[in-house]
């Protein structure tokens, strides 16, 4: 077995790298740039029950070492995704993590029921952390009880493992993680974007039509690392880490904090080849620190040894 192989509930990945939801569409655009079969997996754009148009434009704004987005969960709806988008990924033979969202519990449940029935979908990512829609989304992700309730109900209908995608916009991320673990989640994805805002200093008006948006990119990486570090010590679920990852070094840092796999979002916009380039770089970095299998990296920060493994 390859030294980059990692295994998480429902996700048998030949390497720990997958694109993050919303930053890779449904894969077909990036398939024009490289062969997607090199990826460890793919997270597809959030699915809702009906198609959604999303927010008015402008929807993105640049910030220091990051960006704000307020797309608003635009997608063609779960049925069209299952008809047109998911089948197109078949030739690549990689695990598909299907991100799902909704305005009500009923919508989340129905979308999960439909999408998890697809033999091609490997696992479900429950998006209770989108900051850019008025109803649902983050509302479920900022109260322990509603997050746990929703997780339980979605778990009850899902035919595939469920990863709950946590919002960093909470006062206590550990309690949130514990609540969804207790409710039966199979894994966690963290973190979604941090709510932020940018104004035009000349006019005083917000740049984004939605006024606020979600901050992503390298600027949020330290927040992600800290949250994964804290959560991974208090729960036993595997974590898909994300937030500002753009290099192979970032991947190993995030795994050291406690992640078992790592998703790459915003960096795809900067360099469309970033995922394959990271995957190619990883074995070289492992050689440098004398680690054979990448799965050994997970949670290194909290284990006993602090010296490089090579000098143990």
């Amino acid at each position: 077995m390859s030294r980059l192989h990692v295994s998480l509930p429902g996700l048998n990945m030949k390497n720990p790298i997958l694109p993050a939801s919303g930053c890779f569409g449904f894969g077909k655009e990036y398939a024009k740039w490289y062969d997607l079969s090199v990826l460890g997996g793919i997270t597809i754009k959030a699915a809702t029950l009906e198609g959604r148009f999303g927010n008015p434009t402008p929807r993105v704004a640049e910030t220091e070492s990051g960006m704000l987005n307020a797309i608003g969960l635009q997608n063609p709806g779960v049925m069209k995704i299952l008809e047109n988008e998911v089948p197109a990924l078949e030739p690549y033979n990689i695990p598909i993590l299907a991100n799902i969202a909704g305005s009500t519990e009923e919508e989340y449940i129905e979308v999960t029921r439909q999408i998890s029935s697809s033999p091609q979908v490997s696992a479900v990512e429950l998006n209770i952390s989108c900051p850019n829609v008025k109803e649902g989304g983050i509302q479920f992700g900022t109260h322990y009880k509603s997050a746990a309730d929703l997780t339980r109900k979605v778990k009850a209908v899902s035919k595939k493992p469920v990863y709950v995608k946590l919002s960093p916009n909470v006062s206590n991320i550990v309690e949130m993680a514990q609540a969804v673990e207790e409710a039966g989640a199979d894994g966690l994805s963290m973190i979604n974007t941090l709510v932020g805002m940018k104004l035009d200093w000349r006019t005083g008006n917000p740049i984004l039509a939605n006024k606020t948006g979600g901050l992503s990119g390298p600027a949020i990486k330290p927040v992600a690392i800290r949250m994964i570090y804290e959560v991974s010590q208090k729960i036993s679920l595997p974590i898909i880490g994300m937030g500002g990852v753009s290099t192979a070094e970032d991947v190993l840092e995030m795994m050291s904090a406690g992640a078992s796999a790592v998703a790459v979002g915003t960096a795809n916009f900067v360099n469309p080849y970033v995922c394959p380039e990271i995957i190619e770089q990883l074995p070289k970095l492992l050689d440098e620190i004398g680690v054979e299998n990448i799965s050994e990296m997970t949670g290194r920060s909290t284990k006993q040894w602090r010296t490089p493994l090579s000098s143990r």
Binding site: Y30, F53, R59, V60, E62, M67
Partner: protein, 256 residues
């Protein structure tokens, strides 16, 4: 679609805050369609991450040289303006769908209308049209004489009418104020600029065939992130993505 590293051959200010950058490299050979854009990285180690979509203004296929014009307005484009000859710029492209030229033989007259930093792609387009034997008229709108650029170069291709908001050059007013006499000949319209200008152009060109190129803030530039959508009534989905379905659309195809 490719990522290219191109070398700067020149990068100079040609009007107030407007820069002309020429870049060379083997990748330029693929940039043959007017109306397409390059997604340009502004700094190698910059904290400005997002690329800037810049329209192709001209291409010299023999010298493998592409010309981009941009306004140094925000921090990112200011960084770009500080780059020197010999430095390398990372670009994706050519991206998007350019102007429809095949359909043009039927008509002998084209009216190309551009406002501000929407003007550059009309240059490469005008050259292509002229080569096909099509008569080209330009209407170019600027804020004032200090902001105007490339007028002499446009004149080499065809009749060029200039408008300025403050009246310091050409006709005082907007591009639409200069349209009336020209549209009588029923030309095909090609227009690039802010949505509000395109909307006004469309209103004055009722019944004519035409193409509009839209501008929007972009993320990925390749159709994956849904940052750049525009509503439409002509497609079942109800939207188009400007970066990958456009930036050029038929007049009337999108809701401005």
């Amino acid at each position: 679609m490719k990522k290219h590293l191109l070398n700067i051959t020149s990068n100079i200010e040609i009007a107030r805050n407007i820069f002309e950058m020429k870049l060379t490299g083997p990748g330029v050979g693929s940039m043959t369609t007017p109306g397409q854009f390059l997604h340009v990285s502004v700094g190698n180690q910059s904290s400005k991450l997002l690329r800037r979509p810049l329209s192709i203004c001209d291409v010299d296929l023999e010298r493998k040289e592409v010309t981009l014009l941009y306004r140094a307005q925000g921090e990112g484009t200011k960084q770009l303006s500080h780059k020197h000859e010999g430095e390398v710029v990372d670009v994706l492209g050519p991206l998007g769908n350019g102007f429809e030229l095949a359909e043009m033989d039927k008509n002998k007259h084209a009216l190309l209308i551009g406002g501000g930093i929407g003007v550059p792609p009309l240059y490469y387009l005008g050259k292509h049209l002229k080569k096909k034997g099509i008569e080209v008229t330009f209407i170019l709108g600027y804020q004032s004489i200090e902001d105007s650029f490339y007028i002499e170069k446009f004149k080499e291709i065809g009749e060029t009418i200039v408008t300025t908001v403050d009246g310091s050059l050409g006709i005082k007013g907007f591009v639409t104020d200069a349209m009336m006499n020209v549209v009588e000949n029923e030309p095909v319209i090609y227009s690039v600029g802010p949505a509000i200008m395109l909307k006004a152009v469309e209103e004055r060109a009722v019944g004519l065939r035409g193409y509009l190129s839209l501008e929007e803030r972009m993320g990925c530039g390749i159709g994956a992130c849904f940052a750049c959508v525009c509503p439409t009534e002509t497609r079942e989905s109800g939207y188009v993505k400007i970066c990958s379905d456009g930036p050029v659309f038929k007049m009337g195809e999108v809701v401005l």
